[in-house]
């Protein structure tokens, strides 16, 4: 029998604050084009001198990963696998600005050292003294899913027993202003939430979400990762075929999906993909979440956290419901995400007792 992949812990730093049971209930809908994550206090986790030197992304990653470990009551994972679309942007921008401003002179290494894409995963390992496997995936909107695919494969093939897996992206001003130039981020004067959006581009944000995966079910187990799939390109008309093929390969029928978690981000040019996916699962509850997390490359990790929450609590918070369907039981959920028509991903999650 296939080794199951249990989700035993969640941690996050988001635009709605840190991960907690009340997060959805207390969440405020985002209408601003830029939303920063609400930063927790880092004093208990990181030495004061380090707090000043570390970028926001590293700190968010450290906080979220520790919260996920605590939630699972695990001290040391066997592996750390991170996804990040744009990596440590803040340090990259600072170093590049200094190169340009000082014409390549009088530079100091700190920002360069912290600009490497794998800095978050590395700093988590350094802090935990974790000498295990440590990978960082950097492929736009499937960065987190690439990490999750790697992690679940390692649990299934018994390469590792517990794995910390997550996604992190941070905002940096210059990059955001460039993305506004090409209409990938909504203009400053547009105040539209995901549901009422009539414009192209997204409300951008940042955050870190980590999960502790394990080969063993415990009292902390919230759900099971059943399968993950990634495609670089899927045309709208191919979407139904792809998802049916994915479900069949994993012995799940479409009618058994109780809720689909869709990565709608309010970009009217590309949200049609989610309408198509919604049609495939007309009988299921449709959930959305980027109106509270904001959009960023690894926002789908927050989508997975929402999916895990509703399976674990058997309750769908009203403010993340897109349609009016409320299943009696939530046994199986499907998380679907894409960005600008590329980097499509499916994550199939199940209740621990029905997996």
């Amino acid at each position: 029998m296939k080794q199951k992949v249990y989700i035993n812990g969640i941690g996050a730093v988001t635009a709605q604050g840190i991960w907690r049971d009340e997060l959805f209930e207390e969440a405020q809908e985002i209408t601003n084009n830029i939303s920063y994550a609400l930063q927790p206090g880092y004093k208990e986790l990181i030495a004061p001198a380090m707090i000043r030197r570390m970028s926001k992304g590293i700190k968010m990653g450290i906080y979220a990963s520790q919260q996920a470990l605590n939630d699972a009551e695990i001290e040391q994972p066997d592996a750390i696998i991170t996804g990040t679309g744009l990596g440590c942007l803040e340090d990259s921008e600072k170093f590049l600005k200094a190169i340009i401003a000082n014409e390549e002179q009088f530079l100091t290494p700190t920002n360069f050292i912290q600009s490497t894409h794998n800095t978050v995963g590395a700093q988590i390992a350094l802090r935990l003294g974790c000498k295990g496997y440590n990978f960082t995936y950097v492929n736009g909107a499937v960065s987190f899913e690439s990490a999750l695919l790697d992690a679940s494969l390692q649990i299934e093939t018994k390469e590792a027993a517990t794995i910390l897996v997550g996604g992190m992206d941070e905002l940096a001003d210059h990059t955001v202003s460039l993305l506004k130039l090409i209409d990938q981020v909504k203009a400053d004067d547009i105040q539209q939430a995901v549901k009422e959006s009539t414009t192209t581009g997204v409300n951008t944000a940042e955050g870190a979400v980590f999960f502790t995966l394990s080969n063993a079910s415990t009292k902390n187990t919230k759900a099971v990762v059943h399968a993950v799939d990634i495609r670089n390109v899927v045309h709208e008309e191919e979407l139904a075929g792809w998802v049916h093929q994915f479900l069949a390969a994993n012995n799940v029928v479409a009618a058994s999906i109780d809720a689909v978690i869709l990565g709608r981000n309010g970009d009217v040019q590309f949200d049609g993909y989610y309408d198509q996916m919604g049609k495939v699962f007309a009988q299921a509850a449709h959930i959305y979440y980027k109106h509270i997390s904001g959009e960023y490359d690894t926002a789908s990790a927050f989508g997975m956290a929402a999916a895990v929450y509703i399976i674990d609590k058997q309750d769908i918070p009203e403010n993340i419901c897109w349609n009016s369907i409320r299943p009696n039981e939530i046994k199986t959920t499907l998380v679907y995400n894409q960005y600008r028509g590329r980097d499509h991903s499916l994550i199939l999650l199940q209740h621990v007792e029905s997996s």
Binding site: G85, N139, Q184
Partner: protein, 398 residues
């Protein structure tokens, strides 16, 4: 599992050649690709030497027959060239015939364009097409599009061990039956960002680098791209395909010592090599040649040497660093060295560790200084990166 995961194709562009054959000829004739930088305007021009590919972006675009409207960064251009060669070498005509993936790797991504147009973007609409090509994944998406590949596409960025990890993940996906075929490797272009970054760390050499030499002064940065095609045993049998070599083992571990420096004991490197032996079911004495990471920085070569002594005892096999040929090509390095490892197996070669004169005082390790012909069954290749990332690959003869 047998011999490992079959490699059926490879492609490479580096400062010592724009094809597998050209690279082999340079290795055979001890011809390095280290020079003064030409394609980038930098004040460090005369104080560093680099492994630069002497082709402009326009020449690369022409070679790829891309339309003028393209927004390929140099990283994507180099990657597309090498990946195309790999596909052709594997005699693949329909890239989507089987469940196919691409796992690429890069450290700079589109930084070459970002650093050039950072402020200009606001005034010049015609260059804004490069804005979305900054992120690392963009180069992989471009390579996939260029090959017409639809499927699993991802990118790994673990600094200078990236491509080893792409090869590792690809091999695992084939082994687990998740993919039938996967193109794996890495690409990195030279840019001011990395030149200045490594310069602030004071680990750039102003002369041709000297791996494992007592007087080594640091590394030469380089640019390159290389890809391998890995295929399942089923496809090999079904299509009676020629196998170039096998990925026999792999291991990744974290040094968990410092963000950029390697531990003095080479802990991460030691653990990565041990894991690779375990996966390959081999013992250290079976290794015929080690293609070391050997960047020629004081820290790397000391740490790696110590790790090798921990693994091999006083029986260290013939070893050499090929970074004196190509420069340190960062995320692409492990893919470049994978191609060289396969060529070593095919041609029964140990390459020369160029520029070596004096053994390091800390231990008794002398690299192979002249090219050597001998029977080679197994090659071990190391790659280490910032963030304590340590990776080892073991290749076996077809």
């Amino acid at each position: 599992m047998g011999k490992g995961v079959a490699i059926t194709g490879m492609g490479i562009v580096s400062s010592i050649g724009m094809s597998v054959e050209e690279n082999l000829q340079s290795l055979l004739s001890n011809r390095n690709g280290i020079s003064r930088i030409q394609n980038i305007e930098t004040i460090h021009r005369d104080s560093i030497k680099v492994g630069e590919i002497k082709k402009s972006n326009d020449q690369l675009i022409a070679q790829l027959s891309l339309p003028d409207s393209n927004n390929y960064t140099r990283t994507a251009l180099l990657g597309a060239l090498a990946a195309k060669q790999a596909i052709q070498d594997a005699a693949i005509t329909d890239v989507n015939e089987f469940r196919t993936g691409l796992i690429s790797s890069t450290s700079v991504g589109g930084m070459d364009k970002t650093e050039k147009y950072f402020y200009e973007y606001f005034d010049q609409e015609d260059i804004q097409k490069y804005i979305p090509s900054h992120d690392a994944g963009d180069s992989s998406e471009k390579i996939a599009d260029y090959l017409g590949l639809k499927g699993y596409v991802s990118t790994i960025s673990t600094a200078c061990s990236s491509a080893a990890n792409a090869i590792m993940m690809g091999a695992k996906l084939i082994k687990a039956g998740r993919l039938d075929r996967v193109i794996v490797g890495g690409t990195d272009a030279l840019c001011k960002f990395t030149i200045n970054g490594f310069n602030t760390l004071m680990i750039l050499s102003d002369t041709d680098c000297q791996p494992f030499d007592n007087e080594r002064k640091g590394l030469n940065l380089g640019e390159a791209a290389a890809y391998l095609v890995l295929e399942s045993d089923e496809i090999i049998a079904q299509q009676n395909k020629k196998v170039l070599a096998y990925v026999a083992g792999y291991g990744n571990a974290n040094d968990a010592f410092h963000q950029t420096a390697s531990s003095e004991t080479g802990e991460g490197a030691f653990l990565a090599m041990e894991k690779a032996f375990h996966v390959a079911d081999l013992t250290p004495s079976q290794i015929d040649y080690v293609n070391v990471h050997g960047t020629a920085t004081p820290n790397n070569d000391l740490s790696e040497g110590r790790a090798m002594i921990r693994v091999f005892g006083d029986q260290t096999p013939d070893f050499s660093s090929t970074k004196a040929f190509t420069g340190h090509t960062l995320a692409a390095a492990a893919a470049i060295e994978a191609v060289y490892s396969i060529l070593a197996l095919q041609n029964n070669l140990v390459y020369a560790n160029l520029n070596f004169k004096t053994p390091m005082q800390e231990f008794d390790l002398t690299p192979q200084t002249e090219i050597k012909k001998k029977d080679i069954q197994y090659v071990l290749s190391n790659s280490f990166g910032f963030g304590g990332n340590c990776s080892t690959l073991i290749f076996s003869k077809a």
